[in-house]
């Protein structure tokens, strides 16, 4: 098991180098020159040349890349061309918001997705199955920004139950310790702030998690149907086990292996792909920041964010594999044998 983990961890290195080369090259090939964008409408050619030299953009791309890599290995991701703040600081200021939202969304998606999937499989071809399929279909089809606007209009504009956007009422903002408002609110013992942060989280996590919930529902349903048809389920029933135990312990646990992978991948996608939700709910995460930075050719910021998201993707996959090993003893056995 240990060797399995070490092997997987070591694989992260070539993946990260590959990602850094790709993003570095793409930005330089396809993005417009940042100098005129940074320097504005009054920039002279001389100022543009000086600025490019000051930022190393006059050097060959390979030299630029190696300089960047050397810096990145030492934890220096560079400085934003626009805000002049360090990239790590810029990302650090926004990333907790994205993680908080992604966690809330994946919790919502997993709970409801698995629940709907199980019910649909157990009550196959019933009204519950049809309802589950319908919700899954709607979840996959509905555009996030539209769902977001509908949720705001109904819960915020009409019912006045929930705030329309933002992470917290600025006057309740707890002292920043971790950047996760819920954690910070708990540390500060400020329950009003915690409640406010939670209320702000409801609509964006619902909108963001809807697609993932639909995917998880479908995966759970098909996986459960397969498991329910297996002989060990028949055996369990033959032994006289109660149906809830057959479904919950035998069928569900085995069905969860592919579902776990999907949840892992969805979580990764939620971290990198919350642009529309962040935009509609004014959620101060990295999704919108990434797009803005791409449009402005802010190379250091885009590179930093892509590397971070790639690292998270790889880590989440690794964790999913480990959970796999826990859920399916055969995987653990195989890896042991390999070692």
């Amino acid at each position: 098991m240990l060797k399995f983990i070490i092997k997987r961890v070591l694989m992260v290195i070539p993946v990260m180098i590959g990602v850094s080369i790709i993003v570095f090259s793409l930005m330089r090939v396809f993005s417009p020159d940042p100098a005129p964008i940074v320097l504005g409408q009054h920039a002279t050619q001389e100022a543009i040349t000086t600025w490019r030299m000051a930022n190393g953009l006059d050097k060959p791309v390979v030299v630029q890349y190696l300089t960047y890599l050397w810096g990145a290995l030492q934890g220096d991701l560079g400085v934003s061309y626009f805000s002049k703040a360090s990239v790590a600081k810029e990302i650090g200021a926004r990333f907790p918001a994205t993680i908080e939202l992604a966690i809330a969304a994946i919790i919502f998606a997993s709970i409801f997705g698995i629940l709907l999937g199980v019910v649909a499989a157990v009550k196959k071809n019933s009204i519950f199955d049809a309802a589950g399929s319908l919700i899954a279909l709607v979840g996959v089809s509905i555009p996030i920004f539209w769902l977001g606007i509908l949720l705001i209009m109904f819960f915020s504009g009409f019912l006045h139950l929930l705030p329309s956007g933002g992470r917290i009422n600025v006057l309740l903002e707890p002292a920043r310790v971790t950047g996760f408002y819920m954690v910070d609110a708990v540390i500060a013992g400020d329950w009003a702030a915690l409640k406010d942060a939670l209320l702000h989280l409801v609509l964006p996590s619902l909108a963001l998690g809807m697609y993932s919930m639909a995917i998880i529902t479908r995966m759970t349903r098909s996986s459960m149907l397969e498991s329910l048809g297996q002989e060990y389920v028949r055996t369990a029933r033959a032994k006289g086990l109660r149906e809830i135990k057959v479904v919950g312990k035998h069928a569900l646990r085995n069905s969860l292996i592919p579902v776990t992978t999907v949840i892992g991948l969805q979580f990764g996608a939620l971290l990198g792909g919350a642009l529309l939700t962040e935009s509609v709910f004014s959620w101060p995460g990295i999704g919108k920041f990434t797009v803005d930075s791409i449009l402005k050719s802010d190379f250091p910021v885009v590179q930093g964010i892509v590397l971070l998201v790639a690292l998270i993707f790889v880590t989440v996959n690794l964790v999913a594999d480990l959970v796999y090993a826990y859920l399916d003893p055969r995987i653990k056995y195989a890896s042991k044998k390999e070692g």
């Binding site: 200021a93 519950f128 329309s164 933002g166």
Partner: protein, 540 residues
Amino acid sequence: MKKTVLLLMLTLTVALAAGLLAGCGGTSETTATTAATSDTTVAPGESTTTAAEAAAADTFTYAQGADPRGLDPALVDDGESAKIIVNVYEGLLKYADDSTAVEPSLAESWEISDDGLSYTFKLRQGVKFHDGTDFNAEAVKFNIDRQLPPQVTPDMGYAGFVFGSVKDVVVDDDYTVTINLTQKNTAFLANLAMCLAAPIVSPKALTDGNNSVMEAPVGTGPYKFVKWSKGENVVLERNDDYWGEKAKTKNVIFRFISDNSARVLALNNDEVDMIDGIDATVVNQITQGGDKLFQAEGMNVNYMAYNTTTEMFKDQAARVAFSQAINREELVTSLYQGYSDMAETILPTFVPGYDATVKQVAYDVEKAKAGLAAAGITKVHMITYTNPRPYNAATGVALATAIQGYLQKVGVECTIDTFDWTTYKEKVKAGDYDICFYGWIGDNGDPDNFMNLLADPDPSMNVARWQDETYIADIKTALAIPNGAERDAKYGEMEKYVAERAIWLPISHAQSLAGYRAEVSGFIYHVTGTVFLSKAVVAK
């Protein structure tokens, strides 16, 4: 278990269905009603203060579309930064509330030497920066020197524009400072009132911050900086030691809501008090939600330019004939739905030098047909941009297509190549076009800032590529004439000179639009696009 599952499923389904229904209802309502907006508008700079100030809220929340780029006036060039900067900092001079005429601010008075090259400012005494240090002549020198060679850096985008004509700065005494110029430049005074480069920053804060106060601004303004949560908000609080009239509302929060609809919903939901960055599509939503619309002429011009270096449009008669084919009044009304004013002049009406007697080539189909036939024009190559621009909300494509339609009626076929804005600027620079579409957002409210474009040797600024000796000489003369009637008249003459030659076809001046709650009063939405909030109040 079964019951719980059933309950959960039902709840979810009901919630979703309710959301869908609410959405449909809301949409149809929006399209069905057309509320009049004229009764809720106010003129630029008009004070909106009411008697409600007595019971005012202690927080004013303003929502804009994005974070500021930063809060060091020397290092930024964007409008989102400017709106916060003008409430935290002040310059030596400021603009009048309703125009771009300059008035005293941190400088109480000024004198210009006879040769027009030395400007001596008497500074206001007893003014302190938010960090407790004194504002004085040394602070002025420190701020200008950092934007002059050898200290200036290439990322100080407005340093060259604002201080490019400065030779040096001399401290005469603690509260008198003289700025010497290398050449006569009347626009220099307008530059000193600008919200970029010109505002005075605490020298101590700049020294402590390694010559940058991007994230920790320290000025002398009515509000002082509290904090900036990136992507979320900037919080300001009243400067109780302010030298002038203290701000009326204790806290000002700038919230960043990137999505247009979400910003309007936040206003309708009373979560914010004022919003900007809106367009015509959400005006009904604002007024139907019980909120008000602010609508005023903006400091910009949206125009079509002939490439005067091509064989076709070298000829003045050809340019005039082409312009005669276009019904600008109809075009502006249909494209901008009343949120842009048709432009007869390059200068907006509130800029000194505006002359109401200037008229562009009039719409006349018959003359256009005859003129185009005489010039032998049957095909024209246009290039345009796909994005909406601050001076053209309808996009360059919509504008070009409309003009293509008018020309079709007089038998001229226009081909249009479209590009995203960044690529477009490169194409304009390359010069492969007969006609292009462009615009200008004024910087300092001085007429030279607009009119100089047509004398600029750089083809990416002077997109008509027009180089006329007489006009270039006039531009130089006008820049040296002191502010006043003589200078204004000169710019009027130059407008007529350009209009007669049909170098550009000015299309429109886009209006500034903002939404605010009915309880809000006192804000000054300036013609330069910045918003002064020290007199703003929200009645409880």
